[in-house]
Symmetry: C2
């Protein structure tokens, strides 16, 4: 059964209606491509070796994307909360297995659009495709920024940035993951 407008995060409606500029009919067509999926805390949305076959919106909850390093540790790439998109763009487009793990840190409600829905939207709605390309570019820029913050800033700078841009993360995510994300020792995090 397709999802209804009042069961999705109002930010999703605002984005596609007011920012992307879809008509009411186009918006309904998009919502029809989504399926709601629930994940319990600690369940995986994606695991290394699997192929990412969908575009996914976080309607509720919080997840962590990480990869296993050559040093045997888990390295946190980002946290996703309400109104974020998750997945592995490279795996989605190439069909190659992902190297990432995406795990629910809370019970989550996801809206999942399978590749067939993405293909339909991209083919029929140029505005959707433009938005999607912009998202990919933004993800690219965010990853460069992440890397440059990591190379050139201090742990305290990174902590301040997290406070500024994702303050809710500090309340919702275990401090061991935050310490890993910020690349600091858990003891240093508690001092900050």
């Amino acid at each position: 059964m397709p999802i209804s407008r009042n069961s999705v995060n109002p930010k999703l409606i605002h984005l596609f209606s007011d920012v992307v500029g879809l008509t009411d009919e186009e918006l309904d067509c998009m919502l029809e491509q989504f399926n709601p999926v629930h994940l319990r805390k600690k369940e995986f949305y994606l695991q290394s070796g699997e192929v990412c076959r969908q575009v996914t919106y976080v309607n509720k909850g919080c997840l962590r994307t990480y990869f296993p390093g050559e040093d045997g540790k888990e390295h946190t790439l980002y946290f996703a909360v309400e109104d974020w998109w998750i997945g592995d763009i490279e795996s989605f487009h190439s069909g190659n297995p992902t190297k990432f793990f995406i795990q629910a840190l809370e019970d989550c409600e996801l809206l999942i659009m399978p590749k067939s829905g993405y293909d339909k939207m991209s083919r029929e709605l140029p505005k959707y495709q433009e938005w999607y390309q912009m998202k990919v570019r933004n993800a690219y820029m965010a990853s460069i920024k992440r890397y440059s913050d990591f190379k050139s800033g201090s742990a305290e700078d990174r902590y301040r940035n997290l406070m500024k841009f994702q303050p809710h993360i500090l309340q919702r995510v275990a401090s061991k993951y935050i310490a890993d994300y910020l690349e600091i020792e858990p003891e240093s995090l508690s001092r900050l």
Copy 2:
């Protein structure tokens, strides 16, 4: 004057003809959008604060992209040689000033396509637009890989990767830049 086929790197012709699948006519249309530009060693292709208004192919030479860190140092993002594309995707699409510097490390010959040419190609040749989107995704994945190599691998691993994937860089680029790129001290680089 439009550039001729025999004045461009054969890899560019191979890419668009055999991989992207442009017809002879489409390929000529693309070459017409490019202008050849020469840079002398140490000249800048792009400087922080400027807007990137073009798509650029390295026909000959070697360049370095770096950003000034909060720590006051220059941080090398990548080296580009023949058959690479350079620029700042975010600045190109948003019109915002770039934060990067791109400087010639050798005398360079660049093929520059202004935004008007890119717009024309994207509008008229879906195959070009598909290729471009794939390039953006690959750049995104490369930046994630760069970040993950940096977080989880040793300096020796990064050196071995550079030897494997860009061995010519070691011959062409000053060791201080390579040491910065690998995040090691110049003395450690000479030991490797």
